[in-house]
């Protein structure tokens, strides 16, 4: 399942853009590969993130994996529900499992992200 209304990274994050604000999460493929997620370390609210640089961590039972920032900017909101309910990412990766919102400092970076069919091609390959 790859929703058409957002963009994707090769590292399996999704991003949903509303003006200068970009909401970020990980894809269904990512959570499926990770298995049961037990802990998520999100970037700090107010902090800066840089495109395609690790800004957080997802721990599943069996492995650890990094969250890459799809775009650069300032983190203006984080989904603190995930502190106590990291399983939301497994259950609803594109909805309740969203992770943080970035106010983009360089919106042109968006052009380097993948559209849904291209991302689908990547995970199917």
């Amino acid at each position: 399942m790859v929703p058409e209304d957002r963009l994707y990274t090769k590292e399996h994050e999704w991003i949903s853009i509303d003006g200068k604000k970009a909401k970020v999460g990980v894809t269904d493929h990512a959570e499926e590969q990770l298995g049961d997620i037990v802990y998520i370390e999100l970037p700090k609210k107010g902090g800066n993130v840089k495109q395609m640089t690790p800004c957080g961590v997802i721990e599943s039972v069996k492995a650890v994996s990094e969250i890459y920032a799809p775009v650069s900017g300032t983190v203006i909101e984080v989904n603190s529900t995930l502190n106590d309910h990291p399983e939301k990412v497994n259950q609803d990766p594109y909805g309740e499992g969203w992770m943080f919102v970035v106010e983009m400092s360089n919106p042109s970076e968006v052009s380097s992200l993948l559209k849904a069919p291209d991302y689908l091609g990547l995970v199917k390959a």
Binding site: G35, D36, V38, Y39, V57, E59, V61, K62, A63
Partner: protein
């Protein structure tokens, strides 16, 4: 890149169950079916079914089999009667562990159950030391191993077995049948729960699997097998021990019987025991929400004193747990409750030395 992976006789069942498959020690094995957390809790609270057919079975027979094996392993087989099994290790001359294994003593032969990753190595090692009156046969491909683990295992299995299972104590086995399929039923496991391991002819395994699955016993993958064994502080070869560690270092002194006249590794281990064991294996729980993983550094007052050998999230305790090898000299005063740190992605995270096991299951350990 693409190597040919072996599959067990239950591969069709795993595909039908929609298992997530992974390569493991040259085999294509189920990692999980419905999620590691759920599978783990199923075994702790109820019953689960495992396919462990990747484990190696080596049959040792001949006049000199007992004497030969006694020299190959650190344990004392003279105390083991037919129908009994023994957990032991096999060492190199320098005391490094070649494998940990279970030896089943039958009427006139032995069956060694070894780690999948070591089957070929051990088979070769035995061949190299083999006297003329002993033979070794690798029966891994002919034998399937199913395991039923969980507190109600005896009650469940008794319905389908003609022999009295309550008479079978821990580390004992019988040649019997389950659903009229001939099986060696062994009261052993690797989960910390009571349970049975069933050795059957590979071609009968799918039928046995189906019969058990029809009774609503869910399948459990290798992912939960790992979290279950770590909660029970059972060691894993390749993680917590390997050829560079001795049984004395990893807390397996109890399986090394120095009173035996000779066994491979005895001199080296005796020397280590008389001098000082340089490293020891500790258990710890994380004191925040981080999860320790294999090879993360272990710190004491900011100083590196060892490394994590196994680390995971404990579904029962709902926090990070792990085992680690630390330098004895630098950690002499460490005891249960002591504060240590584990370096997680460059940052020290608080951890506490724990008792073993982390979780006390229904297994009736004993002799």
């Amino acid at each position: 890149m693409e190597e040919t992976l072996k599959t067990t006789s239950l591969f069709g069942q795993h595909q039908k169950e929609n298992a997530k498959l992974i390569p493991f020690a040259g085999w294509q094995m189920p990692l999980e079916y419905r999620g590691i957390l759920e599978e783990h809790r199923t075994v702790r609270k109820k019953l689960g079914l495992f396919d462990l057919s990747h484990m190696g079975e080596l049959e040792i027979s001949g006049e000199g089999a007992l004497d030969f094996l006694s020299e190959m392993i650190t344990g004392n087989l003279t105390l083991v009667k037919p129908g009994q099994a023994l957990y032991s290790v096999m060492c190199r001359d320098d005391g490094g562990i070649l494998d940990d294994l279970v030896v089943y003593r039958m009427e006139n032969k032995f069956m060694l159950v070894v780690n999948a990753s070591n089957t070929d190595k051990i088979s070769k090692w035995l061949e190299e030391h083999l006297p003329p009156d002993v033979s070794v046969k690798n029966r891994t491909d002919e034998i399937a191993l199913l395991s039923i683990q969980g507190a109600p295992a005896e009650t469940f299995l008794q319905h389908f077995c003609p022999d009295k299972l309550s008479a079978l104590s821990y580390y004992h086995f019988i040649q019997s049948s389950v659903f009229e399929i001939p099986a060696i039923i062994s009261r052993t496991g690797y989960t910390g729960e009571d349970g049975f391991e069933l050795y059957v002819e590979a071609k009968q395994a799918p039928l046995l699997w189906e019969k058990i699955r029809e009774r609503e016993i869910p399948p459990i993958g290798l992912g939960a097998r790992d979290t279950l064994r770590l909660e029970a502080t059972y060691l894993l070869y390749g993680n917590d021990m390997d050829e560079t560690t001795t049984p004395l270092e990893v807390g397996l002194s109890r399986v090394v019987k120095f009173e035996k006249e000779k066994f491979i590794g005895k001199q080296a281990l005796l020397r280590q025991k008389e001098m000082e064991v340089p490293r020891k294996l500790i258990a710890f729980t994380m004191d925040d929400r981080s999860v320790a993983r294999k090879d993360y550094p272990i710190l004491l007052e900011g100083k590196n004193v060892g490394r994590v050998t196994s680390g995971t999230f404990s579904p029962t305790l709902e926090k990070g747990i792990g085992l680690g090898l630390v330098e004895t000299m630098l950690t002499e005063w460490l005891s249960v409750g002591s504060e240590i740190s584990v370096e997680v992605r460059g940052q020290p995270h608080p951890a506490i030395v724990s008792k073993k096991p982390f979780v006390q299951g229904s297994v009736k350990r004993g002799t």
